[in-house]
């Protein structure tokens, strides 16, 4: 407890309600005349447990029953742990064990809580009182003494006088966190330009489109009308950083009627006979966009409901995304497999500092 030089006074409210309780001591700067008269406290009302000894005994019984119940709950939890073993490894056994132990522990804790609250409300002394808030400021003697202590300490240690020692100490304290900063820097990407990392994926010219997760290549003839394939680049599963690469290179492959596609002139050669490939990473915050509706050709992002129209180069038709999904130019190699013409022509996924 903080030392209290000002002295706390405890005021018991008077029975009459019209008395103003605001004291005019050091903590209150200005006492304004309130337009609304303080109604004060309502008159004290005795509890039924104070009036009727039978009710009091009943409340007592309730409270100790609750505490005994808590003991029962604790024992129950131990018994449940023994009675419902989980060694079989079956999910249903685990579930029953967790449920039984949880119920016991819930009873144990809740009964203590309810019992304590009921005790305080029904049986403990029913006296209303006010503790006036103490001023934060100490007394004048305390304040003067504090200043003295500082001055004495300065004089005795020579902190203000021996400036060379003082400054070298400050320097040492400033230098101390520097190793931590250097060490934490080591957690970030080294010798790599993050902008370049974000701007390129592992797709390159001639790389085959393969099925996710098996990694088997896809022939153009496999992709029938209305089909959707979840695609990863060839060899992704062998990469050490396969998940990092997949997060950028995942692609959705769809086949539409060629007449339904409306590519701009420079993208006419990016599709193969109605087969188009778009990045699966939403341009809003990077969720996988894969809810493809084969009749409307809309692609829906499940996170924030952005919608992309595949017939018009995945332009945004609804939602918070503000860029179309990047398209992966594809063609067919000599063996009939779908391959990429190049990497994506723009960074995939959400905006970053250098790309808005």
């Amino acid at each position: 407890m903080a030392q209290d030089d000002n002295g706390g006074t405890e005021i018991t409210p008077a029975a009459s309600s019209a008395v103003d309780h605001r004291p005019g001591d050091a903590g209150t700067a200005v006492i304004v005349q309130d337009a609304v008269e303080n109604p004060g406290f309502p008159p004290h009302r005795a509890r039924i447990t104070d009036k009727d000894p039978r009710k009091q005994r009943r409340a007592e019984r309730t409270i100790y029953t609750l505490f005994y119940l808590s003991i029962v709950g604790s024992i129950w939890a131990i018994a449940a742990y023994i009675a419902f073993p989980i060694e079989s490894g079956k999910i249903s056994d685990l579930r029953i064990s967790t449920l039984a132990i949880g119920l016991g522990m819930t009873l144990a804790l809740l009964a203590i809580g309810f019992g304590a609250v009921h005790w305080a409300k029904a049986l403990m002394v029913d006296k209303e009182g006010i503790d006036i808030r103490h001023p934060v400021q100490g007394t004048d003697e305390t304040r003067e003494r504090a200043v003295e202590i500082f001055q004495e300490a300065d004089a005795e240690s020579g902190f203000g006088r021996r400036t060379l020692i003082r400054n070298s100490l400050i320097g040492a304290l400033v230098a101390f966190p520097l190793p931590a900063i250097v060490l934490f820097r080591g957690l970030g990407p080294m010798n790599e330009d993050p902008v370049k990392l974000l701007s390129h994926t592992m797709w390159k010219k001639g790389m085959r489109l393969t099925r996710d997760p098996s990694g088997t290549p896809i022939r153009a003839s496999d992709v029938t009308l209305g089909s959707v394939f979840h695609v990863i680049p060839e060899g992704l599963n062998d990469k050490e950083d396969a998940l990092d690469q997949k997060a950028k290179a995942a692609v959705l492959l769809m086949r539409l009627e060629p007449k339904d596609l409306h590519p701009s002139p420079d993208r006419k050669s990016w599709a193969y006979d109605g087969i188009v490939a778009y990045s699966k990473i939403c341009t809003h915050v990077g969720c996988p966009v894969a809810l493809y509706e084969q009749q409307t050709h809309h692609l829906l992002c499940p996170c924030h409901q952005s919608q992309f129209d595949i017939t018009h180069e995945a332009r945004v038709i609804f939602g918070p995304a503000n860029r179309p999904l990047p398209q992966l130019p594809i063609e067919v190699d000599a063996d009939g497999y779908l391959v990429a013409q190049s990497d994506f022509h723009e960074p995939v996924g959400p905006s970053f500092w250098e790309r808005h």
Binding site: R211, P213, S227, M254, L291, Q295, F318
Partner: protein
């Protein structure tokens, strides 16, 4: 083979080999190989589960003209109201009619599942008729829809290909403009298989080159596994994720905290 060669050799010795003998042998050999291949293939997934007779087709045509032709056209050629059914295959009919989606009660964003309007026999007859119009996916055999595959592999395929619409626990989810991906709980393996092969309504097609019949079988196995085994996390609340769980904790969790606060601060009587 050796016997034939010896026979041939004897014939040659005798000098009485027919000029067409070689041709006949090749034809017999090819016929045998092709026949054996066809027999092996027939045990695969592509064969029809039910053999449809000409009378089924006729009965199916009558059912079609009475119940479906008003939208799909008298020869199933399609109209402005409904697509052509030529080449959709028996699987599409068995799925759409067998789950009660067709005939539709009213036009809307999506045909809804409801009690099937036709018996399985009538559905088979309709399927036989539509299958006779053009080649399409047939009704899958029991061995790929029985759910005796690898649930772990199925779960991986389901997460990659299906979970974004149907929810990772198959509880379904919303799509755009009133459309939705239906829950997959309680759906038979046959209907799930047929939906994957035919791509009903806005669902994309997952043909056998995309997900192999064994993969489809694994997916069905996974869906049956999660329905047969309780969730280790306790109450699923419809497996809908943050929406259902958030609603629950806001109403019941916060509600009980408010109630307790009121009780603690209320004056005892």
């Amino acid at each position: 083979m050796r016997e034939t060669k010896q026979k041939n050799a004897r014939k040659r010795k005798a000098g009485r080999r027919h000029p067409l003998a070689t041709v006949a042998l090749i034809v017999i050999g090819l016929g045998l190989t092709g026949g054996a291949y066809a027999t092996f293939n027939a045990t695969g997934s592509s064969a029809d589960a039910t053999t449809s007779s000409a009378s089924d087709v006729t009965a199916g045509k009558q059912l079609f003209q009475a119940n479906c032709a008003s939208c799909h056209g008298i020869e199933a050629q399609g109209t402005d109201a409904a697509p052509s059914l030529i080449g959709v295959g028996a699987a599409a009919v068995d799925f759409q009619v067998g789950t009660g989606r067709m005939p539709m009660a009213m036009s809307g964003p999506q045909a809804e599942q409801k009690p099937a309007q036709f018996s399985q026999k009538e559905t088979d007859q309709l399927a036989a008729y539509v299958a006779s119009l053009g080649p399409g996916p047939s009704i899958p055999l029991r061995d790929v829809t029985d759910g005796n595959g690898d649930a772990a592999k199925g779960a991986e395929l389901f997460r990659v290909n299906c979970a974004m619409c149907h929810n990772v626990a198959g509880a379904g989810g919303a799509l755009t403009e009133g459309k939705y991906a239906p829950p997959l709980t309680g759906v038979t393996g046959k209907h799930i298989y047929e939906a994957m092969v035919t791509g009903p309504q806005n669902m994309p097609v997952f043909n056998d080159r995309n997900i192999t019949p064994e993969g489809k079988r694994d997916i069905i196995t996974y869906l049956q596994f999660i329905q047969a085994n309780p969730s280790p996390g306790g109450f699923e609340l419809g497996s809908l994720g943050p929406v259902a769980e958030g609603l629950f904790i806001w109403i019941f969790g916060l509600g009980s905290i408010v109630a307790l606060t009121v009780w603690i601060t209320a004056k005892s009587n």
